[in-house]
Symmetry: C2
DNA sequence: CTGAAAGCGCTTACAG
DNA sequence: CTGAAAGCGCTTACAG
């Protein structure tokens, strides 16, 4: 394979200057049709492809977007990453991916590495212990799903969405509810819990009171399974009739605990999640949850990043309640009577 | 924020030439300790960071590895991507990620995009319909898990691993077995099926014969669920006593089908998967499967890519059998007597 | 509208 | 061992 052709080769072939070649390439400046045609002819004759690196050096701008996620193995983040990649591609950009393993140090060093490569901008789904520190960066940085530093955040309106779950459970008659929260040091964890709790407490004022128990956990399967097991190991009359979890993974862990303890879902216990990962629709029973619009979130994050006026405003998009078969009417009263 | 310092600034500050700065940066050439010290002093005083783009333009070499996967949302590929990212990082490289959505066209265009960015090399987990086409590339390309074109492949020894499953099931007494295969147009699908079938047929020669039924499918949940349902909808005496699936996702789909039909696993039916995705250990019952050593696979792929002498040999690493509770002794005979 | 030329920030023969 | 200089492949004022 011979050397790749350069603008110079194209210019010679077309009988014009390299400046002209560059100008038809950019398409931004007017070039006489005749020359333009010659240049385009030369480009395809030679199979010319612009050297992205040289262009980047000259303009100190690339079309690469850096994405940092805590753990690509987490199904929701994987979905988010897939959506970001698609959104970036739609705008002619490529994606560099890094995993922080939920470690703040790794996160920071990935940011520097991206900056060294002069990416176009960085989207970060923050690690859970991400500080509020603001760092100066020569390119835009956007927080996605979880806030990074003080950078603008694109996320689901967690509180409002959690309220949807509260409504659903209350509407089904549940009055003894446990909430498995996310880590309190994550904004998402706090928002979801806050939204749920406020809504439930609101019912107490205008309707029947609800006994609400809250346990903080991590967002993963194990945490959900462990906490649910503790909750369900109690005598039936002390058990919650519904468990709302802050993530699908927790909820699926809870489902597993219920099954191990032979507690029928949804007959004896309702369980809800949050995220609508693809697995939510595959577990038994299928999980009632909140769908986070990953595509929309990703598209907004990319759009904000590419926007000229680096906006500094957060952006919230609404999640939607997906009712499946892990929730049902509360039958606790009957059980008590029978027992 | 002022402009980033360059080698020139460092050289001036240290009172040396830019060549010398570059030489201490590279560390490859001997530089007098005194000068080296001065330069290093200047570097930290100025907070100098080399411009990766300029370096790439000059050397036409970067430290970016391109990875193409069919679908990052697939848990096994996510695991693979995480491992590749880690392995790349260990070697001081960054990762660019692209999804082919199992589309050959997209795959090819991602390869070109990576080439345009003059990545150091490309690792591709091929789409299922990847052709045998060999393309000339100025950088090494390695196939991971599924072969891309004619490029060397790093993968689990699928056939041998599938044999492990066959041994396990046969040892448990199963003599009527169904195999849910992967797409026959994937090498992994064919190897796994081949390894399983050969092993089972071998038993027929030296021991009791096995009734083996094979159904081709895709690697996903839905495919497994659908095929298993068809298999299990038959009257009990015509049903297989064990279903071996070519992927965990298929197996989890099969588990779901069994549960819907109230067929007890593993009492009435054994189910096995392949991959050991994290979910395999969380479903009910926990899935017996083959662990693919994602870390090792990734590390080998990266090592091969970075190797000087572009090796052209395939590399197989052994998978291991993980026995959990979705498999058990065959009790078919008893069932028949009872019925 | 177009060409000639400078320069982005490095690395690396080439002399010495 | 070190410096001066060329050049990687582009883009973009600057003239005309």
């Amino acid at each position: 394979m011979s050397k790749m052709p350069t603008v110079k080769d194209v210019a010679e072939y077309a009988g014009v200057s390299v400046g002209t070649v560059s100008r038809v390439l950019s398409g931004e400046v007017a070039v006489k049709p005749l020359l333009r045609e010659k240049v385009n002819g030369a480009i395809s004759a030679l199979g010319y492809r612009p050297n992205v690196t040289a262009r980047a050096l000259r303009t100190s701008r690339t079309d690469v977007i850096g994405l940092i996620v805590p753990d690509i193995t987490n199904p929701f983040f994987a979905q988010l990453a897939a959506s970001v990649e698609r959104a970036a591609l739609e705008c002619g950009h490529s994606l560099m991916l890094a995993s922080s393993h939920d470690d703040r140090g790794a996160e920071r060093s990935h940011v520097s590495a991206f900056l060294d490569r002069s990416v176009r901008g960085i989207i970060v789904v923050a690690s859970s212990d991400s500080s509020g520190l603001h760092l100066e960066a020569p390119v835009p940085i956007i927080s996605l799903d979880r806030r990074f530093g003080t950078f603008p955040l694109v996320s689901t309106h967690h509180a409002r969405a959690a309220g949807l779950i509260a409504d659903h459970l209350y509407g089904l008659g549940h009055r003894r509810i446990a909430y498995i929260a996310g880590p309190p040091d994550t904004e998402a964890g706090r928002m979801r819990k806050g939204g749920f709790v406020n809504r439930i407490n609101g019912f107490g004022k205008i309707g029947e009171p609800v006994e609400l128990e809250i346990v903080d956990g991590k967002f993963d399967y194990e945490s959900g399974e462990r906490i649910a097991r503790d909750l369900l190991l109690r005598p039936p009359q002390d058990r919650p009739t519904a468990i709302a979890a802050a993530s699908d993974q927790q909820a699926i862990g809870a489902l597993r605990a219920a099954r191990d303890l032979k507690i029928d879902v949804p007959r004896k216990l309702s369980v809800t999640g949050f995220d609508d990962i693809s697995l939510a629709n595959l577990v038994v029973p299928r999980l009632t949850t909140i769908r986070q619009p990953a595509d929309k979130l990703a598209r907004r994050a990319v759009a904000l990043l590419l926007e000229e006026s680096s906006s500094t405003r957060d952006e919230m998009v609404d999640g939607s309640l997906i009712i499946r078969s892990s929730t049902g009417p509360c039958v606790r009263a009957k059980v008590n009577i029978a027992g």
